[in-house]
């Protein structure tokens, strides 16, 4: 990797200031993603700004929600009792991330902002749209792990973050600090679909922005469920997964959030499944039909139609989890 300088700021403001440079500066959390990219010559920053020293606490907010510092380790997020109680799907997603080593080292901020895992992106030989090139190798190539939704291009990645999916399902807001001060962005607006203009990024952060907190609203009277379909039991990525958050009145679903992961360039909200679920009783038949609805608009690529079935199952089983039913 290219030699770089290292800055260890003691405050959020210092961190933002340190990102201003003539060369390339990048934020480093646990480094589980960034260091690998540097070793593989996918990125060669001149300066790293360490944000592990910033807020690593999880605190209750006045409205009954929670505020999670972006320096919180994934393992600490998993082990936090209040998080597990209020947001069981965040808890469920956290424990499935990568491996124990990755969870011990990786941070919430790093997980949400990690770059795509597309194998063309991760190998130096392939200069695709996301690396300033002018094509997407996945289109005519090996796309078995690529998107089945949001396939308008130019890039066909699936968003890699496991945590982003439950965050979105629970209606999280992301607090961002930049040279012009701070702003709060709804999870749904944070992640961006690729266009030719913004294909080098997966979210709204500017070069000198940092994510400081994830703010989860009070969950309300909901049932939530999370289900991941994984090929290997560990040290692997989900083929597709889903978080559902169901607002209940009695045993009837009054409204629903259905978010899918590993299926689109952003955490993918299924409006079709949400519309279907409203007003339905919570049972297995509803779950199965909602799974069908969730994939009704899927547009797979040449080699990943099988993921439609998997995504459908993930949604169905997430709902069954929410209902407390056995999934298999």
């Amino acid at each position: 990797m290219k030699a770089f300088s290292y800055v260890n700021p003691s405050s959020e403001k210092e961190a933002v200031a340190a990102l201003k440079t003539d060369g390339i500066a990048m934020v480093i959390g646990g480094g589980q993603d960034l260091l690998a990219r540097m070793k593989d010559y996918i990125d060669s920053p001149d300066r790293l700004v360490n944000v592990k020293g910033l807020d690593a606490t999880m605190t209750s907010t006045p409205d009954g929600g929670m505020k999670i510092g972006s320096a919180v380790k994934i393992i600490d997020l998993f082990e936090h009792a209040q998080v597990a109680k209020l947001y069981p799907s965040v808890n469920a997603a956290a424990i499935e991330v990568g491996t124990p080593q990755i969870r011990n080292q990786g941070t919430v901020g790093g997980n949400v902002n990690q770059r795509p895992r597309c194998w063309y992106f991760r190998n130096e030989e392939f200069v695709c749209f996301k690396k300033g090139g002018s094509r997407c190798f996945a289109v005519n190539g090996e796309n078995q792990y690529h998107a089945i939704f949001g396939n308008e291009g130019p890039s066909h990645i699936v968003h890699p973050s496991s945590l982003a999916v439950p965050f979105m399902a629970y209606g999280a807001k992301f607090r961002v600090l930049g040279p012009n001060g701070e702003r709060e962005i709804a999870a749904a607006d944070y992640f961006t679909m690729p266009t030719l203009q913004n294909v080098l990024k997966e979210n709204v952060l500017d070069d000198e922005d940092i994510l400081t907190h994830v703010i989860l609203p009070a969950p309300g009277i909901v049932k939530s469920g999370h289900y991941e379909v994984r090929y290997k039991a560990s040290h692997d990525w989900p083929l597709a997964f889903s978080t559902v958050v169901l607002t209940m009145s009695g045993n009837t679903i009054s409204s629903a959030r259905v978010v899918l992961g590993a299926v689109a360039p952003i955490p993918w909200r299924s409006k079709a499944a949400e519309a279907f679920l409203a007003g339905k009783p919570l049972n297995e038949a509803t779950a199965a039909a909602a799974g069908e609805a969730a994939v009704s608009e899927a547009k797979p690529m040449s080699g990943n139609a099988y993921k439609v079935q998997i995504a459908k199952t993930a949604v169905k089983r997430a709902i069954m989890n929410a209902a407390g039913l056995n999934t298999v």
Binding site: M1, Y41, W119, Y120, R122, N123, E125, F126, F137, N140, G141, E142, Q144, V229, R230, Y231, K232, A233, S234, H235, D236, L239, G303, N304, Y306, Q309, I310, T313, K316, V328
Partner: protein, 711 residues
């Protein structure tokens, strides 16, 4: 005929479970692998490789690298105008004072290429309009093998199954990558090298560098896996030696994971279009198979087909297809996992045409039982131990998405001994040194060398000092083809027996008897039948005098054998809503002649089974179909089982002392994938005729099954 060298009838150590001699050294880090060797003033080598699958080298500019900080040597490995035939084909190299600087400098070497047409897969290479990429043709048709009257054979068949079966390319993924440390002293080379063939590596260094073999000293004390891919210095070893010569300093050159995937061998793919016939009462009648496969750029891809079972009439043709990818190398039982898979899936399909139990059907069509063909017995023993009677017919009737099934498969392997030599010293203080130029590639050779000597001398293993893994030691062959134990153990036995005889000659007068009346047991030398009349080993050795007993010996007939057989049972569950396969149980029944160390023999079986679970479910070398470049040259996207993907594995070893020592490194990896695929078929009713059993294939097969059969 029993003779003085014959294996003991009532061994004290042989066949028992003995912990590895070097276990503590390995787990504490005292064991030094090639990677751990550091020499004073040592530099680090790094290679530059072709990023393109096929190209002509237009220019190589070394100047920037030569001027880079810390760089001590730079070389071009190919001439301008030469062709590179696969991604990863070596082009140039550098040596610098740190690994990082070597890497930086390697990236400063500017190579310009003119891209040439390439093949990323066999379909492209076999296309009728394919360009001529390989000199002498893109494919090579092998001879036709034919037995009996095929037409008559098919005429006898009540049912015929016709389908295409395939296995894919996987790489060796040795945990320790390939590489060495080279150090020159004038025109003498010392190389610490991660190799399965320490003496042969010395020979290959000498040949490639144009120096006498006597000037080369190679050393391999500990190795993190080879699996058939480490039989010599390869390009990286020769380049390392050249860099060390140029730089006048020792150089370490270990490959990285990407280089491993691209350029250190792989298991060739295998595809066969097969027609096979069966009578109404379950006798095989005919086999007609056309197969092809790729071993990469200009390499072969042969494998046995049909496998094991007795097809009275058969015909088989095979074609090697060349693609622009790294060349294949021997990989754990070369050819057999492929031939086994293609045949064993077919066998279950055939059995189903007459609704016959797969075990009964197999037993009916086996070649005659023999010491190296014990399948009938193993099928019976295994079926009982595994609970085969609880197997349902094809298609698990249990409601819900999880379907469970059982499968079975059989295999064979050769293994044989020859040519090893050994040396034994017994010192007057009772110390024993056993020397042999074999190597322990992680299989436990060091331990079993010591065990055979300890057994012979009637001493505990701890009494023996074992020296192996060094080209200055007595000759022994490379560790391949499951031949190490069968070659080295007889040499150790013969030499130890001769050394003991020499000791008896010194001790006999003191005990007032003739040497032939003495035995060595339980740490004592005494008169046969009267243990009281004897001496402790230590006291006996005091009689040796100033000149130690020093004996050379070599492999002899009668102590080793050849030919093994095995059967494996698998249980797997399939989630039919996701296509995910989980292997839940494996039973491996295996013989390997006389078992030396039960523990390390079982360990080979465990390792073989786990490697084959990877072959069945996870591993896949994926080349981008357009660019021909590998998309998963790492250990993240090139999937490998973790602990939680490994099922319960039971090993049943059949000890056959009368057959002598036969190897076990390879056979246990042959059947597993076939047994798993058959279990998946039994669970779901859907036939997947190619590996790996990735969810996309499982789901596709289930879809087809729903649509009315998979043919």
């Amino acid at each position: 005929m029993a003779n003085k060298y014959s294996w003991p009838e009532k061994p004290a150590l042989l066949g028992t479970s003995v912990k590895r001699l070097d276990g503590p050294d390995k787990v504490t880090g005292r064991a030094k692998y090639t990677y751990d060797i550091n020499r004073p003033g040592m530099l680090y080598g790094k290679m530059v490789r072709s990023p393109l699958p096929h190209a002509r080298v237009v220019s190589i500019d070394l100047s920037a690298a030569e001027k880079a900080p810390g760089v001590k040597a730079v070389l071009a490995h190919v001439a301008v105008g030469a062709q590179v035939m696969y991604q990863g084909d070596p082009v140039a190299a550098v040596a610098a004072d740190t690994e990082e600087r070597a890497l930086d400098a390697a990236r400063m070497i500017r190579v310009r290429y003119e891209a040439l047409p390439h093949f990323a897969n066999v379909e492209q290479a076999m296309a009728t309009d394919a360009p001529a990429v390989f000199p002498g043709g893109n494919t090579r048709q092998g001879a036709t093998e034919e037995t009996g009257d095929l037409v008559a054979g098919f005429a006898k068949a009540a049912h015929i199954v016709e389908a295409t079966y395939a296995t894919h390319v996987i790489t060796h993924v040795c945990l320790e990558t390939h590489g060495c440390v080279c150090e020159w002293d004038g025109d003498k080379l010392t190389a610490w090298i991660s190799t399965q063939a320490v003496i042969q590596s010395a020979q290959q260094f000498a040949q490639a560098l144009g120096i006498p073999q006597a000037n080369v000293h190679t050393i391999m004390q500990y190795m993190g896996g080879g699996f058939g891919s480490k039989f010599g210095p390869d390009s990286q070893g020769i380049i390392c030696a050249k860099l060390a010569k140029l730089a006048k300093a020792p150089v370490k050159l270990m490959l990285d994971r990407k280089e491993e995937h691209l350029d250190t061998g792989n298991r060739p793919s295998a595809t066969a279009h097969i027609r096979a016939g069966i009578t109404a009462d379950g006798m095989l009648t005919a086999f007609d198979g056309q197969s092809w496969g790729t071993g990469g750029a200009g390499a072969t891809s042969g494998f046995p087909l049909p496998y094991i079972y007795n097809f009275p009439t058969r015909k088989r043709t095979h074609k090697d297809v060349y693609i622009n990818a790294g060349q294949q190398r021997a990989m754990r039982a070369p050819g057999h996992p492929q031939g086994c898979f293609l045949t064993e899936i077919l066998m279950d399909e055939l059995a189903d045409t007459i609704k016959m139990d797969p075990v009964a059907f197999r037993v009916k069509n086996l070649p005659p039982a023999a010491p190296n063909a014990m399948w009938a017995e193993y099928f019976a023993r295994g079926a009982k131990a595994f609970g085969w009677d609880k197997r349902h017919a094809t298609g698990d009737p249990t409601p819900g998405p999880i379907k469970t099934g059982m499968g079975v498969s059989a295999h064979r392997w050769g293994g044989a001994g020859q040519g090893s030599q050994a040396h034994v010293d017994i010192m007057s203080d009772g110390g024993i040194v056993v020397k042999c130029g074999t190597q322990d590639i992680g299989t436990g050779t060091r331990t079993i060398v010591g065990m055979v000597a300890a057994e012979t001398f009637g001493l505990p293993l701890s009494a023996i000092k074992v020296e192996i893994g060094d080209s200055l030691l007595p000759f022994s062959g490379g560790s391949g083809g499951s031949t190490t134990a069968a070659s080295a153990m007889p040499a150790i036995r013969v030499t130890s027996v001769d050394a003991l005889e020499a000791l008896f000659a010194k001790v006999a007068p003191a005990l007032g008897t003739a040497p032939e009346n003495l035995v060595a047991e339980g740490g004592r030398i005494f008169i046969k039948g009267t243990p009281a009349k004897g001496l402790s080993w230590k006291d006996a050795c005091k009689l040796i005098g100033t000149e130690p007993i020093s004996v050379n010996g070599k492999w002899a007939q009668g102590l080793s054998g050849s030919g093994t057989s095995g059967v494996q049972f698998a249980e797997a569950s399939v989630d039919i809503e996701t296509g995910i396969v989980r292997v839940t149980r494996i039973l491996a029944i295996q013989d390997c002649g006389l078992i030396v160390d039960k523990l390390t023999a079982e360990s080979q079986a465990y390792g073989g089974v786990i490697a084959a679970i990877n072959f069945a479910l996870f591993e896949d070398r994926i080349l981008d179909r357009v660019t021909g470049q590998m998309v998963n040259p790492n250990m993240e996207m090139y999937l490998l089982a973790g602990m939680s993907d490994v099922p319960k594995i039971d090993i049943m070893l059949n000890n056959m002392p009368e057959r002598g020592v036969i190897g076990i490194g390879e056979p246990p990896t042959v059947s597993t994938a076939s047994a798993i695929a058959n279990a998946v078929r039994n669970a779901t009713g859907a036939t997947i005729r190619s590996l790996p059993l990735h969810p996309h294939k499982v789901l596709a097969a289930l879809e087809q099954e729903k649509a009315g059969g998979t043919n």
